[in-house]
Amino acid sequence: AALNDGLRSQVSAALKEGRVTPAELCQRCLALIKSTKFLNAYITVAEETALKQAEESEERYKRGQPLGILDGIPIAVKDNFNTAGIETTCASNMLKGYISPYNATVVQKLLDQGAVLLGKTNLDEFAMGSGSTDGVFGPVRNPWSYSKQYKEKSVPKSHSEDEESNWVITGGSSGGSAAAVSSFTCFAALGSDTGGSTRNPAAHCGVVGLKPTYGLISRHGLIPLVNSMDVPGILTRCVDDAAVLLGSLAGHDPKDSTTIQDDFKPFELPNLTDVSKLSIGIPKEYHAPGLSSEILALWSKAADLFKNAGAKVVEVSLPHTRYSIVCYHVLCTAEVASNMARFDGLEYGHRSDMKDSTESMYAATRREGFNDVVRGRILSGNYFLLKQNYEKYFVKAQKVRRLIANDFVKVFRSGVDILLTPTTLSDAAPYTEFIQEDNRTRSAQDDILTQAANMAGLPAISVPTALSERGLPVGLQFIGRSFQEKQLLTVAKWFEKQVQFPVIQLEEVERHDSDVFQHQKSASFS
């Protein structure tokens, strides 16, 4: 079995048949993590516990009693999910060294099915950002920066600049998870998605990023950014794998009162051949300012792909899209101000040495524990929540949110099944360029194509589509109806098959796993 094999189709079978053992898989991933350390994708590597889990999995396979498809499969988890006994930092000084006593529900579910937890991945501090550049452990590097495809296309600059300073960002805030999946150090990873934090890095790193419907997957144990928009996100190398992960994670959790009560039945994705009954909507407002001509062309090409295959492709309108950034800013910062109030240094986490009074201890702790981005959002949020401002900002934003959500309802009611949009405005920016603007500006720009789905609670998925002229991945996004993940993923899978996105050519991976490139698919879409 190769590191780029699909879970259901290949790895699981290989494990069952004993062609590869869980311990071998685990060791290969751990070795690759070590040799790709420069990516800075992982904050914590749980080597001992992972090997132990792999051993236990091996025992089960020997007995012929694996727990399921995920038994023995190495996975990574974004460092804002609680993992018992393994540090959970949210890439913040506030939680450096914090060892949670409990597992997030999604983590527990994965462990219960025998998955092997390799480690916790890097992110923007407390998931605030769109670059995975603003955490205390440093930025995450996009593995494609080191790919043959990117290096071939890079114009060598002045002799003083080298590969080191040319690397591109992963996007964010689940950049570590996206990089981990992209560089083959794990088969799947958990991210979180509040305004696009799973789909954005998925697009930039050439992997599949799924944002499920709000209320489908439990948030118990996910350290919240915006409780009314957060969802656990799924990052995998192919759409089928995303369906497997979704099946193992979805369903009501009594510990999370915002999960729906209805029974969830895991599904296998059919191989769609006939798209003639499908109606694809192209929202005109998603031709946003700053959208690169390259991505615009790809988007158009994708629409044609569906049309030529017999689907109905129509232009639709989501008129309140242009208000979504401001609306998101108000609601997000207000919730952040509230959610961060618990970090006072008393019960857990960082506590300042300042002892003059409780109040001064709070202030020093929070100044020392939080970065600028977090502090900025807390201040904004508190401002919006002041009694004199509440109606003008918070309540107004709630109303606008309803309008944005209604836009989608109207479009889906008119007969459209799925919306097709770009995921990002351009391919991944070089780090040195990205940090020229501040976090707030970047987030506002980069979230525009993804955040409306969070406001409306809808499921959305980014599928790697083609390489840009610079040799970097570009993804396109599908947005579906509430709780219609099966239809959404079925269409995404059909699209994935059509575009045949190329496998990343990474020297480190080639060294570890020569099988990877035996079945290399060519990039047929660009």
């Binding site: 999910f81 939680l95 409990y102 009162s257 509230s338 002892k355 109040e359 709070y362």
Partner: protein, 456 residues
């Protein structure tokens, strides 16, 4: 001098009697070792979420119905933000926008004079009842310059009952609170013991001249008993009147009652107006309640609360119980108040009545004058009484059959009180307290006495 009209409103926090807390599964228990009843959610560990406790909702619905409130079929939860050591999350989950119950009323009775011979009934409007979390406790250790925090109480369910400013003095407030306490205890929705912090009362007090708008009000906190409640309110009313008559002004402030000095003092902590930055609690969907009409057909009844179902099962409230006692036993209304005021006394009375031929109207005297005063003297509860209803009934039977006089009966009772296991009859025989019925025997004794006198 123009007369003053005092205005008193109350905010009462009643701890809900439940096994576990409002939003988490940790236990509710008084005086447990510090931080032994704290779940991850109570400690505000990041990533934990609130899960509403059904029993707490039922308790609030019961209380709302007993107070004649409209129960809101849809109510909402909010976050109230402030920083304090005993509030781990930095906010309290409460119901600010739409509480669970509104627009009720509470009737209570007062004696016109001290002799309890004339009772008058008054009503106070209940503005609302809301569900909210209790905070933990913090103890300030000034010697070591540290604050000790115990989170056992953090997250325990509270019902906040808001009484409109319809009261005019300490006595009215005390009577209203006493009646509320009895109602809560009858329902079982709260044990409402003030000494254990299960019932906390804050008073809003102001004064004005008739015909003029209401004056500035102060909030009085830190009141630990019903007796102190009346004292604190009356003191504050006087203080405000004196201040205003001397040309001063009343500050809209929070004051604490100092029970040792018997006065109210400004509270240093609460200076300045707090902006609580209320925000909807995003992790809790709206609380939806049903009644028989609105209950969907195939809904799992474990998942829903049916207001009508709860209404049908409400026990007799104190006012109903009193009425029944008066009607059934022919006792005076003020007697029924005293019976209900003492835990277990009404049951004791009824038990005695069942076991004796003496008329209830006579029994009541023995209960309220004799038994009760013994209990009070020795600070005992009815449950702890060394004289059981059986023993007392037995004694009263002797009296009824005219086998002893009522003076003798009191003597016997005193002896019974010692709890030495003797019956009334045994004591009577021991102390030769039998009433002599035989006319001839009596004449002989009298003659002997007279003869004895003549000999001196």
């Amino acid at each position: 001098l123009a007369p003053w009209v005092p205005v008193v409103g109350l905010e009462i926090h009643a701890q809900i009697s439940s096994n576990s807390k409002l939003f988490s599964g940790s236990q509710v228990q008084f005086a447990a070792p510090p931080n032994s009843l704290v779940s991850f959610f109570d400690a505000s560990l990041p990533g934990t979420l609130p899960v509403l406790n059904r029993r707490c909702v039922e308790a609030a619905v019961m209380t709302g119905l007993a107070l004649n409130c409209s129960i809101n079929k849809k109510s909402l939860f909010d976050r109230k933000h402030y920083f304090y050591a005993d509030l781990p999350a930095g906010y309290q989950i409460t119901q600010q926008r739409v509480p669970i119950a509104v627009n009720g009323s509470l009737s209570y009775s007062l004696c016109i004079d001290n002799k309890m011979s004339q009772m008058v009934t008054k009503t106070v409007r209940i503005k609302q009842i809301q569900l909210e979390q209790d905070s933990g406790k913090s103890l300030h250790d000034d010697i070591r310059s540290q604050t000790l925090v115990d989170l056992n109480r953090a997250g325990v369910g509270l019902m906040e009952v808001v009484m409109e400013p319809d009261m005019c003095c300490g006595e009215e407030a005390a009577a209203a609170v006493r009646e509320l306490q009895l109602i809560l205890q009858t329902l079982g929705s709260s044990q409402a013991v003030m000494a254990e912090g299960q019932l906390r009362v804050d008073a809003n007090v102001s004064v004005h001249h008739p015909g003029e708008p209401y004056g500035v009000r102060t909030e009085v906190k830190n009141i630990n008993s019903i007796r102190f409640l009346a004292k604190a309110i009356d003191y504050e009313i006087q203080r405000q009147i004196e201040e205003l008559e001397n040309g001063g002004t009343i500050l809209n402030e929070t004051r604490a009652f100092d029970s040792k000095l018997g006065c109210t003092v400004p509270m240093r902590d609460k200076e300045g107006k707090q902006d609580y930055r209320f925000m909807p609690e995003p992790n809790l969907p709206p609380l939806v309640l049903y009644d028989a009409k609105s209950l969907p057909a195939n809904m799992n009844h474990q998942q829903v609360i049916n207001i009508d179902w709860i209404h049908e099962r409400l026990p007799d409230l104190p006012s109903v119980k009193r009425k029944k006692l008066v009607e059934e036993y022919g006792i005076l209304p003020e007697h029924s108040f005293t019976l209900l005021n003492e835990d277990g006394l009404a049951e004791f009375f009824e038990s005695v009545v069942k076991q004796t031929q003496m008329k209830p109207k006579k029994v009541i005297g023995w209960i309220l004058n004799d038994l009760l005063s013994y209990l009070k003297q020795h600070s005992l509860t009815v449950k702890e009484s060394p004289v059981s209803s059986f023993l007392l009934a037995d004694l009263l039977n002797l009296l009824e059959k005219k086998e002893i006089s009522s003076t003798a009966a009191k003597q016997v009772l005193a002896e019974l009180w010692k709890g030495e296991g003797k019956t009334a009859l045994e004591i009577v025989k021991e102390q030769k307290l039998e009433l002599l019925q035989d006319q001839k025997e009596l004449e002989q004794i009298c003659q002997a006495v007279i003869d004895g006198q003549e000999n001196e």
